[in-house]
């Protein structure tokens, strides 16, 4: 069995397979290296910076004693409240869209939900300045209509309503946040809601369940994974947002990203800023980890 005629034809695929594996690895190497360089390396640098000079935990200790801890708590609180508000809006809206709205209107409406995603978020924030300012559109209408004597302070005012250590966001920052982050929650929830078998709703109603019971017993159990996934996607971004509180929040409603920015740009205390960032990151990751413990939620997140 030698010479050209003795060649075993099926050895060829094996060689091709090996060659393909090498090519695949080569192709994957560049983007993987890029992802590591852009994702992991900066985090490592941040961690090292937060422990300097040379190696100390004093930056973390300073955070514990400083006035910044309440800011961190407030930021996380705002994240929870706004995420909750987004879910409260997204549940009925996506239920309506997936199961009540005539099919031919679904796509156009879904696309219209995503429109804010296509606009610059700084612009989105400023639209609320235009709407809520003392000479803004709302106050103009209210005063012209004689509903109020003088313009309401809607822009950059704190709510003054607190739940424990967490203060509810003021009207302008709350509206701005919901406006910007709602589309993400809507899209995630819609995917889940569309897979809810409407006949399950009918079965529950048939067996005597009223609207609230149907929601509790069928809609939530069948769609909670989508809700949690949506919450995980927006929660950290809200808690760590910079532009929205900067433009729409009252000075008493400072959030963590503003502190970090001030420390980096104005105070130039890089190690402290890095420590604040690391603490924030860890808190958010713990929350994410708890949410992603559920296999249903992991499956939902993989859709993204």
């Amino acid at each position: 069995m030698s010479g050209p005629t003795g060649r075993i034809p099926w050895s060829l695929p094996e060689r091709t397979d090996r060659r393909r594996a090498v090519v695949d690895a080569g192709l994957a190497a560049v983007p993987t290296a890029l992802a590591v360089a852009l994702g992991v390396v900066p985090l490592a640098v941040l961690l090292v910076e937060s422990l300097s000079p040379p190696v100390t935990l004093s930056n973390y200790a300073a955070l514990g004693e400083s006035v910044y801890l309440p800011v961190l708590v407030r930021s996380l609180g705002v994240g929870v409240v706004i995420t909750g508000a987004c879910l409260a809006v997204a549940y009925p809206v996506t239920y309506w869209l997936a199961h009540v709205c005539p099919v031919r209107y679904r796509l156009p409406i879904l696309i219209s939900f995503t429109l804010p995603l296509w606009l610059n978020y700084v612009v989105l924030n400023y639209t609320w300045v235009w709407i809520l300012a003392t000479d803004g559109i709302v106050n103009t209408v209210l005063t012209a209509g004689g509903l109020v004597d003088r313009p309401l302070d809607l822009l950059r005012t704190a709510s003054g309503i607190g739940i424990g250590p967490v203060e509810l966001p003021g009207p302008s920052v709350g509206l701005g946040f919901v406006h910007i982050y709602l589309p993400y929650v809507l899209l995630t929830m819609y995917v889940s809601m569309e897979r809810l078998d409407y006949r399950q709703v009918e079965a529950a109603r048939d067996l005597g369940a009223g609207g609230l019971r149907v929601f509790r017993d069928v809609v939530v159990p069948e769609t909670y994974a989508g809700a949690v996934a949506g919450a995980l996607i927006v929660y950290a971004r809200i808690a760590g947002a910079f532009a929205t509180p900067q433009i729409l929040a009252s000075p008493s409603e400072q959030m963590i990203a503003q502190i970090i920015t001030t420390q980096f740009y104005d105070v130039l205390d890089y190690p402290f800023a890095a420590a604040v960032s690391v603490v924030f990151l860890v808190v958010v990751l713990v929350g994410f980890g708890i949410g992603a413990l559920s296999t249903d939620v992991r499956a939902e997140l993989k859709r993204w």
Binding site: D197, E202, A203, R205, D206, L207, G208, V218, P221
Partner: protein, 357 residues
């Protein structure tokens, strides 16, 4: 409960009057008037798209009628929502709650009725035993077989004792053997619990084998209703004759009337035929359509003359296609060894039901 009752002494539990449903310009259900007795097994049967499922959904309260009335036990429920109606529905796709155990599924309706927890548990277990699933309570519905899911769906819908149980072709997803088994089971369970069953199907065999009475629907309307034997044996319309089984339809002329039956000349033969139920016998000389079931014809008779064109071996019997000399083709069903090698066939009418054309 009312196991021994006959049709006549049953009180009416469900009544519809002129029930109509329009979707846009299309009419799905038109002027359906039904009356179902307490404890009765009533079947609503018809081809796909005839409006039977829409009718059922209106009865369940999942679709609102465009017109007409629905009454349960004498009370008008036309506008009451599904959760307030004393009806339960077994869905075609069963639709068990996948995030609950079997027992939680079964007890769901009881919980909504405010039955205390302990009683719920014992009644759900009892109902599971009735449907033959004793000890399945802690299972996850997704790990059950098709037939077992069927039984869970049935138990869930029966447990809180609805006035009427509505069934939407729940057996259609089962294979033939299991379906036959479940039909017998359904009858047994219905006798056991005494609940009124309204069963919707396109499968006339299921409808006839299970029901006390059935109604045949076509294009949104009820064409005919009555006990299976009379609809099958003496249908009023060609549609029902054909829908409920293989039927030979011959057109001919009435020769004579005799004891409420008629003598008919058709397809070159002369024979007597019964008159469709609820019809008056046609006059002599009138045109008439005659239905003859294939099993009521036999080969080697002397009524018709024709040629066997095709023989189909069906196991227990053979089906012959006979081309009559006078033109029409007849289907004849005969014992498996009855007509082997027959070349020319004559057939005699044993029984037939007339429906004037």
């Amino acid at each position: 409960m009312s196991g021994g009752a006959t049709v006549s002494d049953r009180s009416t539990i469900l009544r519809t009057e002129g029930l109509t449903k329009r979707f846009g310009t299309a009419t799905a259900v038109e002027d359906v008037s039904l009356s179902v007795g307490a404890g009765e097994f009533f079947a609503l049967v018809g081809p796909s798209g005839c409006g039977k499922t829409t009718t059922l959904r209106m009865l369940a309260g999942l679709e609102s009628p465009s017109g007409g009335r629905i009454e349960i036990a004498g009370g008008d429920i036309t506008d009451s929502p599904a959760q307030d109606r004393d009806t339960n529905l077994v869905f075609q796709e069963l639709v068990l709650f996948t995030h609950m155990t079997v027992a939680e599924n079964v007890a769901y309706g009881l919980a909504r009725d405010g039955v205390p927890r302990d009683e719920r548990r014992s009644r759900a277990a009892e109902m599971l035993a009735t449907v033959g699933l004793e000890g399945f309570g802690d299972r996850d519905p997704t790990e059950l077989s098709g037939g077992q899911k069927q039984r869970v769906a049935l138990a869930r819908a029966l447990v809180n004792e609805p006035a009427v149980l509505l069934l939407d072709e729940p057996l259609s997803s089962l294979d033939r053997k299991l379906r036959a088994e479940m039909r017998a089971e359904l009858r047994r369970i219905q006798d056991d619990v005494g609940t009124t069953f309204l069963y919707v199907t396109h499968d006339q065999e299921s409808a006839m084998s299970m029901s006390d009475r059935l109604a045949v629907m076509r294009d949104g309307r009820i064409v005919e209703s009555g006990p299976p034997e009379s609809l099958y044996g003496h249908p009023e319309t060609a549609f029902v004759a054909d829908f409920l089984g293989n039927a030979n339809l011959l057109t001919g002329r009435v020769r004579d009337r005799r004891d409420g039956r008629v003598v008919v000349d058709a397809a070159g033969g002369r024979f007597t035929a019964a008159v469709g139920e609820g019809r008056s016998a046609p006059a002599s000389g009138a045109d008439a359509t005659v239905m003859i079931r294939p099993e009521n014809l036999r080969l080697r008779g002397d009524t018709f003359a024709g040629t066997v064109r095709d023989v189909g071996y069906m196991g227990a019997h053979r089906e012959y296609v006979v081309a009559l000399d006078a033109g029409p083709t007849l289907q004849v069903r005969s014992g498996a060894d009855d007509g082997v090698g027959v070349g020319v066939a004559d057939a005699a009418v044993v029984d037939g039901a007339g429906a004037d054309g």
